[in-house]
Assembly symmetry: C2
Homo-oligomer: 175 residues x 2
Amino acid sequence: MELSPTARVILGFLAVGPKSGYDIKQRVDKSTRFFWAASYGQIYPELKRLVAIGLVEPAGEATGGRRRITYRITPAGDEALEAWLEGPEQLHELRDEGLLKLFFAGLAGEETVASVLERKLDAHTEAIERLREIEPKAAAAGRFGPLHVLRYGLALNEFSAEWCERTLVEVKREK
Amino acid sequence: MELSPTARVILGFLAVGPKSGYDIKQRVDKSTRFFWAASYGQIYPELKRLVAIGLVEPAGEATGGRRRITYRITPAGDEALEAWLEGPEQLHELRDEGLLKLFFAGLAGEETVASVLERKLDAHTEAIERLREIEPKAAAAGRFGPLHVLRYGLALNEFSAEWCERTLVEVKREK
DNA sequence: CTGCACATGTAAACGGTTACATGATTGA
DNA sequence: TCAATCATGTAACCGTTTACATGTGCAG
């Protein structure tokens, strides 16, 4: 029983505790979105599919107030999640338009190369700031996975930012 | 005139010199595929679209032998390419299933965490090997962009591999 | 009482991969 | 002569984003 891409995040978050589709989306946006995004257009239909195949079950509607449907992972869901975690496949895809531009920027002159690098540097700097804001919360929560993944993201962006700076210096020296 | 994602690679490679769709695919697979992939299913239709809007033109069919359609970038195509290179947008997307697994792997115990890290390490090690094989060729070609992008890829994968190793040690120490 | 955040959902469009179809040429 | 590679192309499918539709409850 192969899990769809979106099912992987959903089951993961439901394994931590029952949540609504809305909840899941909020969590994704504050954590996994940097390496695994999901939109409402995927989450809501996927939740229904997961219920249909018995990996997830409704855990009661709104306790008073607002409409709200909470879901809980089933034992079958736990099994499927574990099977996925232990499976060998680990897709890795990168789409980096800055790198693509850099690849061709030589055709347009050194100024273009420099501005491409500067914008890539900006993007990494911003990412670092956003991740630093989140870090204290992740550290306080004390869960191993989220914290280490966050620190990896931080370190990776710092590495990339420094690489952009070094390469910028090199480009300007050659000019 | 916004360039479609695939049009960006196509125009870039055609700016270096005339090529067929098949050529472009080969080049992509040997270079940009690590951060910007493209399949025949996109390249051939996109070439036709680019001809239709005048950014690219046919540069003659097969000189004897095999069937083969070569394309050349037009002045309008050069302009569009430069406009794209100088534009501010630089999409950056990452899909890293290893990180997603790591995010949740704590739920399944430390052995799962370790095996997820080991497989991520393997993936980066393999990437390093593949990139090292290509490097001498890129260095010999002497074009700034491709060489620096390749070295960035190499450095990034080395960084990630080392991070996996360090984190593995940490995980095993805690056990 | 108004605007914002909560909350769920669907439809259309887009971008991409994969599989399939076709056929020519080259080298073993 | 047979397999591999060259070479172009299309159709089906999948996953994803975006825009839209609808309505609730709370705070100012």
